[in-house]
Symmetry: C2
Subunit: 390 residues, 2 copies
């Protein structure tokens, strides 16, 4: 008898490579890292019981993975719904968030409903914040499909939307019940987005682990060409460092702020150009160079260190020259940075680093910051290195 199944290629078995634990007491959860996890029903066992799961994704990612994720969830839930959001940082606002609430309420979702964030940082931030607020809190799972989300934004429970006056100003610390990093999903990631993710990988070196920084430098070409074993190690080590930091300071009362290396400058770039002009990772890449220059001005690192980090950021395919913000560049940067969440009593605080892989939070006089901004400005000197590919 002819067995019709023999003509069908079986899906390759899923491979779980690493499990990284986030230790936060009763809010602890695992990060699963592997190939093909998304398609495997086994990945989705043991989540909180509910009648309904809702996959929240965007118009780019949903056509690629939503049906497959829904099929893998089907054995576990009576109903698997889907909410598709528009794509991009510019849509990370209340109106878009409200589309999730509208869908949940229209479908009678109760407060046991499990949300799954399938996509990058924007989908993760919005789905997480929606989960934090819907009926005062429902469980959610992060299913990051971008490198940036796998190594950074999906881990640690920061959720938020933007406000016209500042990025991530409205949000919550709200932990997922699980993070599933399917490395296979990175295959479909456009080059520009993939490189943006490398910025957050690089970040973990200067702030915490010089050995990892050396390793990234040695493997930057292999990382650029997405060699599976190299990418797997980068994701794992990034998650381990993030887990260690978040485990000590869940709500960013101190230590956790070091994860924002390059982000104070980066947020000003994003806000100053208009959200979505530069990708978050691009702004952070350039912001890390600016933060390194600032660290040098404060006597923490040598010019050679700044040059080394600048070369690495450029080799990752990221911009290293700061855009000039109208109307008055440095003053505009300073005014945008003053609403940064790390600012206190109007004093901007920067994450700076030394050459031993230690990071510090420092208030810096405006005049010094202004010098750094002008020194890093595009067109202000060596313009061939790391100009933005767009």
């Amino acid at each position: 008898m002819f067995d019709s199944r023999s003509s069908v290629d079986p899906a390759p078995p899923a491979t779980l490579l690493h499990t990284v634990a986030i230790d936060l007491g009763e809010r602890s959860y695992p990060i699963l890292i592997g190939h093909g996890l998304l398609d495997d029903p086994q990945t989705w066992g043991g989540l909180p019981r509910a009648s309904t799961a809702v996959v929240v994704s965007n118009e780019i990612v949903a056509p690629l993975y939503a049906a497959r994720l829904r099929a893998a969830l089907a054995p576990h839930y009576a109903r698997v719904l889907e909410v598709v959001l528009p794509d991009g940082e510019a849509t990370k606002d209340w109106a878009t968030l409200n589309r999730i609430f509208d869908a949940l309420l229209a479908h009678g979702c109760d407060r046991k409903t499990v949300l799954l964030a399938l996509g990058g940082g924007v989908v993760g931030d919005m789905t997480g914040f929606a989960a934090a607020c819907y009926m005062r809190g429902v469980p959610f799972v992060q299913v990051p499909t971008t490198l940036l989300a796998q190594v950074d934004s999906s881990v640690g429970g920061k959720t938020a939307i933007n406000h016209p006056l500042g990025k991530n100003m409205i949000g919550a610390f709200y932990q997922p019940v699980r993070v599933v990093c399917d490395l296979a999903a990175l295959a479909t990631l456009p080059e520009r987005e993939y490189c943006a993710g490398l910025a957050e990988v690089i970040k973990y070196g200067p702030i915490h682990d010089t050995v990892f920084l050396d390793w990234i430098e040695a493997h930057i070409e292999a990382l650029r060409s997405r060699e599976p074993a190299i990418v797997a190690h980068a994701v794992r080590r990034s998650c381990e460092i993030k887990a260690a930091v978040v485990g000590q300071d869940e709500r960013e009362s101190g230590l956790r702020a070091i994860l924002n290396f390059g982000h104070t400058f980066g947020h000003a770039i994003e806000a100053g150009l208009g959200y979505g002009q530069w990708l978050h990772g691009e702004a952070v890449g350039c912001g890390m160079v600016m933060a390194a220059v600032l660290s040098q001005r404060l006597g923490l690192v040598s010019p050679a260190y700044v040059e080394r980090l600048t070369r690495l950021v450029a080799a990752a395919g990221l911009p290293t020259r700061a855009p000039v913000l109208a109307p008055d560049n440095a003053a505009r940067y300073l005014s945008l940075m003053r609403v940064d969440k790390k600012a206190e009593a109007g004093e901007i605080r920067f994450v700076v680093v030394d050459e031993r892989g230690q990071a510090y939070l420092r208030a810096v006089p405006d005049a010094v910051v202004a010098e750094v901004i002008e020194a890093c400005a595009a067109g202000g000197g060596d313009t061939d290195a790391g100009t933005l590919r767009v």
Copy 2:
């Protein structure tokens, strides 16, 4: 020498009558109950250190108390700002919430900024939710000026805004750092609002404390006329019961739901008539009568108990007859109740009581609920008792 101060009446000294502790581990806080607390700088000592405090109030309460509260806060903060919101449940939405965020960002408020909610339940719910979300969480203080807020909504950390498809659907469990109940503020409360607050006082009897229910019954006239010692006891005992319940179940995974006695019917009334038509307490008053009728149908209480509770609700100046909701009354109630946060998998769960002061969460067949709704409907029988004063 003439002392100009001698002609000025000194403010009567503030009297702290009771302190009720909410025991929630690291999120524990005290409820201070007394006369004149709002005006006394001592009341505001020992709060989290910050450069800025922001009093959030509404257009009714702000002219009465905001200047006095700001004066009492002035010794503790370099800057005391004020945000005045429109009044009423109909404004408990995202647009109004966003006015708080706009003000905080426009004034460069950082994540140490302390918010103070000066007003009733709507101001408390919105200020608390704003505090939960602003920069992922800033400290806040509840300064309830209505009876309802003092005995119920300001205590326990439930914060939320409404969604067109349901009341309090978007929110957070977020505890204040202190609750200050100034009984003197009740003097300016309009009769209708004061009576609405009595609904939440009455609630604590059936669900938890028959001795307190007897006491309320014996003192309902003194409560109506706002005798200070009687009001003080009612506020204290209500807060004690709420503290005991919340201390055991902060996030309403079980027990805490009993505090919603009368609220499932009540929310349907509010949503069905349009938010703001009936006050929340009025809807809860009527909802408690409906829940008592339901308890009777389930064999938990006698007809005499239902009659007793109905008389008490009426004596508190509250409606006891349910409004008929277009187009199909019971079906409309059921559809509105199905999105209640206590519903699970489409099953509405009601808080019902027995005569020993015990409450239970029960799923009830739609047909039984529909009978109760029709039996309680205005115009469906004894219409002279407890018609709504408007």
